[in-house]
Every structure is written in C-alpha cells, then in structure tokens.
C-alpha cells in the first residue's frame, strides 16, 4: 500500500453522552491506511458508540473525528467554534467509509442483486449494466454469486452478512467498519463471515472491527484496542495484549472470555 499523507482515522479526545450518561470520555486513537484494528471490551464500554461516531451515525459532543485528515460532521465557524456541518458535506466525507452492521440491515424488499446494485445506481450513478457487473463481481468475492435472485429473508444469517459486506464493497470504500458482524449469527455460521473478512484484510482494506471473536482478533489484527467505561484502557499488538495484559480490567475481561470459551462457565 502506498504511503498516505494522512491517517485513515484519527480520533482526538472524542466525547459522547446520552443525557447524563457519559458513554465516551475522551478517546484518542490513530489508525493508518491498511491497518486492521479490533476493538474489544465489555458491554456498555462504548465500543459500538465509538464506531458509530466514526461514521457519524451518532453525533458526538466533543473532540474530533478525522477521516483522511478531514474533520467529519462538523466545521468551524469564524470564532473557531464547532458547528454541525450540512449533511451533504458529511455524506461526501463519508463516501470512503462503510459500515457493516450486527443485524446485516439488508433491505428485505430487494433481492440480493438489487441490494448490492441499488447504492451503485442511486448514489454512484452507474448505469444498469456497469452496476450489475460490479455487483456480480463483489458478490463473487463473498461467494454469494449463486444467490443473486434470493431475497434476504430466504438466506441464513451468515449469507445475509456476506451480502451486506458485498453491498458495502460495491461502493469501493477505503475504510470498513464492522459493528459486531458475527454476534447475531449461529455459531456454525460465524466462520464463513470471518473468512470473508480475513480475505479483505489480506487485500489491504483498512478495517475497524468491534468483535467478541478473540481468536479472530488475534489472527488478523495489527492492533487491538481494549475499551472500558468509555476510555481506551489498553492497546497494542494482539500477541502482547492477549498474553501480557497489564490492566486489571483487561485481565478479568480476558479470563471471563477464556473460561466461557473452554466451557467452564
């Protein structure tokens, strides 16, 4: 991957609260292009919220989210105060960032092919032929080209998630965010989705993945970030982080996970 002048994602003192509930208390994080970063942490630690702030599905209350060196969602006025940016500007900045959701969020009234083609036709203004070819090629990539006429309701969770990944891929994102992409899946379907994600990582896609799949995180990620109570408590390369955790929170988080995984609990 060629050297990029900017960080893919830069979070500076990112804060977000719902009413009195401070969910993110000042997150600082830098992610390079081509990096795969896994975000782990207990429920309520703010990991999904952080991801949603990166993509501006949530408005954050303080700090900055920069994508490719560009402040996202807000602009400064003459006094230097942050102002909510017009949504079309935000959308423009967002075009290189795509989210894959826990609940897949395929549109149920469209077939697999239509789901993938729709954004290409409507947002990227490809003609029908080009959109179809593009859709077929990304569906091939996730091994779903044999199901193009099926509706999402006729597919397994794993298949739906692979189509959702294809739908995102079709728009040529530079950064992909995954919000617990395998958490809604039956255990035997997790593997096929992780396999697709692994191949994306090998292709050099910049990925930020909120996940509970520690094995997967250890295998593919360049960096693992542990979130607790709205703050980054620990981060580092997966081997160090998983084998020599420093903070008590991470230690107990990892031991709970390994106990559950070995079937003791």
């Amino acid at each position: 991957m060629e050297k990029q002048p900017h960080k893919a994602i830069k979070l500076i003192d990112l804060k977000k609260h719902y009413g009195d509930n401070q969910v993110l208390k000042g997150i600082n994080l830098e992610i390079d292009y081509g990096q795969v970063v896994c975000i782990i942490g207990g429920s309520g630690s703010g990991k999904s919220t952080m991801l949603r702030c990166i993509n501006f599905l949530e408005q954050y209350n303080g700090g900055e989210v920069q994508i490719n060196g560009k402040l996202l969602g807000y602009g400064s006025d003459a006094q230097g105060n942050l102002q909510l940016a017009p949504s079309h500007i935000t959308q423009n900045d967002l075009s290189e960032v795509c989210m894959v959701f826990q609940q897949f969020n395929l549109w149920p009234h469209m077939s697999v092919l239509e789901n993938v083609m729709s954004p290409l036709l409507r947002v990227h203004k490809l003609n029908k032929q080009a959109a179809r070819e593009k859709a077929l090629s990304v569906l091939e990539k996730v091994d779903m080209a044999h199901k193009i006429d099926a509706y999402p309701g006729q597919l397994s969770g794993g298949q739906q998630q692979r189509v959702a990944i294809a739908r995102s891929l079709g728009t040529d994102p530079k950064i992909m965010l995954f919000d617990e992409p395998t958490s809604a899946l039956d255990p035997e379907l997790v593997g096929e989705v992780l396999k697709v994600m692994k191949s994306l990582a090998n292709d050099g896609m910049t990925m930020v993945i909120v996940t509970h799949e520690m094995g997967f995180a250890a295998q593919v990620s360049d960096k693992v970030v542990f979130l607790a109570k709205g703050l980054i408590e620990e981060q580092g390369d997966p081997t160090t982080l998983f084998t020599q955790p420093k903070s008590d929170n991470l230690k107990s988080f990892l031991s709970t996970w390994s106990e559950r995984n070995s079937g003791i609990v």
Binding site: Q103, S111, S118, P119, T171
Partner: protein
C-alpha cells in the same frame, strides 16, 4: 319474501349501488392521499405541526361520521359553506378516513427497522432516496392489512350518507322499503350488497398483500 319487488326496483337499487361505489372510491382515494399528506406533514420539524396534527386527529377520529357530515351539510350554510349532498358525502368520507389512514401510515413507517435506514444513510442515500426506495416500498407492504380493514369500515360507514340524502345504496333500499312497506327484501338485499363489495375488497387486498410481501417467503 316477494322477489317480484325487485322487478320494479332493480334499476333504482343498481343506481344506488353504483353511486355507493362511486362515492366510496373517490372518498377513499381522498382519504388515502390525504392521510399520507397528513402523515408526511406531521413528520416535519416545524413548531405547532404536532399540535395541529393531533387536533385534526382528535376531531375526526373522536366524533362520529354521522355528526361530521350532519354539521357539514346542515351546519355549513350557516357559516357560508354550501356544499351539495354528494360533495359533503365524498369530502366527509375523505376527511374522516384521512385521520385513520394517517395513523396507519405512521405505524407502517414506524415498523421499518431503524437499521435499514441507517444502512442507506451510511451508503450515501439522500433523505429523499431513503423515503422513496427504502421506506415507501416496505411501508406499503406493511399497511395493506390495516389499510384494507379501514377501507372496509369506510365502505360500510358510507351508509350513513343516506341521512343527508346522498342517493346511494342505503337510500335506495330505504326508499324501496317505505314505498312498498316491505322490510325483509330491501334490507336483506342491502346486507348482501355491502357484503359482496367488502368481500371483493378483501379479496383484492389479499392479492395485493401476497404480491407486496413476496420477499417475505421463507425457503
């Protein structure tokens, strides 16, 4: 039962039937469009819109159709609004139905998972594109059952328009009854006629529902 009565009265009954179909069709089309407009307006983030919407709903859902058309037809002239019985009938059904349909649309839109809209927003869809390509098609499938229900209710309620002398089906049957002193024949006919119309509407609704929810079939 004297079926010979129908030899004399069938032209009048048929005319009434056609008139009922006409008044109901136009009234319900107004209600469908009016309800949608009402709902879309209620979503605008403008002060007092919510209050206005709630007021409309309270008035038209909270009072009987009979009272509404009575006020419009007999009370209208006192405030300078003079409408024919037919106009009041159609408008009455339309305004009354709009209130119900607006809520049906609202429930339809509300049943679409938020994630479907987020996904579209994330992929760069504009609000307009989300409305037309994600929300409308799903909403239409969802509102067919309650929509058909409401349509059937409105058709039956249209019998009330006989009170303000709209020459529809019920008016025809009542006229037949008073002129011939018969009860069974005209009212049984009336019952069968309304049943036939609503049965047909239900069947059409079922067909539409099957078509609109074709994607929900499970393998």
């Amino acid at each position: 039962m004297d079926l010979n009565l129908f030899i004399t009265y069938w032209p009048m009954l048929l005319k009434g039937l056609i008139y009922t179909l006409y008044v109901c069709s136009v009234g319900i089309i107004i209600a469908l469009i009016g309800g949608l407009i009402l709902h879309l307006i209620s979503r605008l983030k403008i002060p007092f819109i919510g209050l206005l919407y709630a007021t409309y709903l309270t008035i038209f859902r909270g009072t009987p159709l009979l009272v509404q058309v009575y006020l419009m037809y007999y009370g209208g002239p006192f405030v300078g609004v003079e409408l024919s019985a037919e106009q009041v009938g159609i408008l009455g059904l339309g305004l009354y139905g709009s209130a119900y349909f607006a809520e049906i649309y609202r429930s339809g839109f509300a049943s679409i998972p938020k994630g479907h809209i987020e996904a579209a927003y994330d992929l760069g869809y504009s609000h307009r594109q989300i409305l037309f390509s994600i929300q409308f098609p799903q909403m239409l499938g969802l509102i067919i059952p309650p929509g058909i229900n409401q349509t059937i209710i409105l058709i039956k309620e249209s019998a009330i328009l006989s009170i303000i002398t709209v020459p529809e089906l019920t008016t025809a049957a009542v006229t037949m009854s008073t002129q011939t002193f018969s009860v069974i024949e005209p009212y049984l006919f009336l019952a069968v006629a309304y049943w036939a119309i609503t049965f047909l509407v239900a069947k059409i609704g079922q067909w539409c529902e099957n078509r609109a929810t074709i994607h929900l079939v499970r393998s």
